[in-house]
């Protein structure tokens, strides 16, 4: 342990917020854009495709008759009764 005269260096006093923003803001923007892109191509596009495929060959009357035969409606009974 030296007994000579030692001083501690002056710490950084200025530009702390700017330094932090320069580091964190690009990362924040990049991560946000990646999250948005992931949601778009992972969730919304498949969902739009699923709806389009469902309604491409959808016959409403046929579905209605199937449901009527199953007996779930109260306004129309199955055709047998």
């Amino acid at each position: 342990m030296s007994y000579s005269k030692m001083s501690l260096a002056k710490p950084v006093m200025r530009g702390l917020l700017g330094k932090r923003l320069r580091f964190h803001l690009p990362i924040a923007f990049a991560l946000s854009l990646m999250a948005a892109a992931a949601f778009k191509f992972g969730v919304t596009e498949p969902r739009k495709r699923a709806y389009a495929d469902f309604y491409k060959n959808y016959d409403a009357t046929k579905e209605f008759n199937n449901m009527r035969e199953a007996g779930i409606f109260e306004s129309v009974r199955p055709t047998g009764k």
Partner: protein, 265 residues
């Protein structure tokens, strides 16, 4: 600005710098830049105090006494507060319930001393009443600090004795003696780890166990009989009705059922 005020400000900033950094560098009387260090550890959360304070001290005496041995100086934990009233008679502590008068109760109307990571400079210095050696130290503090540090160094050729000499010089060195006049603990001493986590985790698990027993007893003696909608037949008829109604046919429930083959996809 008055020169004496300036010099006192310099000394105060120097004290703050040493207090926060916890290092004792041998410096001259030059100006040193004072900054506040990081705020350190937060105080123990209130829920821990409530959890520990009354019940667990009677359940796990071993853990408690082990922890207490390391924490007698601190006032941050409710357990130590209660135990310190019983065991110790020194240091600052908070008054308990007030109806039994403890002999040396803390006078809250006077400036207090504290060891806190986030508030580095307390209202009063650690040593209020100075004996002769402390007074001489205070006089020496007014002069340059490097001069006295050099006087305490003893030249020695043997390596082992040199290290011991360095350690002893550090403990008895001028800067830390001056520090100890004003402050009780250094920042590393304040930040020293404790065994409190064992008490916390142990108390948590004990209460989990008690809660589990209570829940089991409830399921046998408190809960009413299950509704008929929980039965197997009812559930099967419910699923069939949902498929007939075409619940969520695009992406959900009925989308997973193959209506031609009459089976799950």
């Amino acid at each position: 600005m008055d020169l004496t005020c300036f010099l006192q400000a310099k000394k105060l900033l120097k004290c703050l710098w040493y207090r926060v950094e916890g290092e004792f560098c041998y410096c001259s009387n030059n100006f040193h830049y004072a900054t506040v260090g990081d705020s350190g550890l937060p105080q123990p959360a209130m829920w821990k105090l409530i959890l520990l304070g009354h019940i667990f001290s009677y359940i796990s005496p071993l853990l408690v006494f082990q922890m207490l041995h390391l924490k007698l100086g601190r006032v941050g934990c409710l357990l130590t507060r209660r135990a310190m009233v019983a065991l110790t008679d020194s240091g600052a502590r908070l008054s308990t319930h007030g109806h039994h008068e403890v002999s040396d109760q803390l006078d809250m109307s006077q400036p207090m001393y504290w060891d806190r990571l986030d508030t580095p400079l307390p209202d009063r210095p650690w040593k209020d009443v100075l004996d002769a050696t402390d007074k001489s130290l205070k006089q020496k503090e007014k002069g340059p600090w490097s001069a006295l540090s050099k006087e305490e160094k003893i030249a020695c050729k043997c390596l082992f004795r040199y290290f011991i000499n360095c350690l002893w010089s550090y403990i008895t060195s001028f800067s830390i003696l001056v520090y100890r006049l004003k402050f009780n603990h250094t920042y590393p001493e304040m930040k020293r780890p404790s065994q409190e986590w064992k008490t916390v985790i142990g108390g948590m698990f004990i209460f989990f166990g008690i809660t589990g027993l209570v829940v089991i007893w409830q399921s046998f003696y408190v809960y009413p009989p299950q509704p008929p909608t929980f039965g197997e037949d009812w559930q099967a008829k419910q699923v069939q009705r949902m498929l007939d109604m075409r619940i969520n046919p695009i992406e959900g429930f009925s989308a997973k059922w193959d209506y031609e083959k009459k089976q799950w996809k």
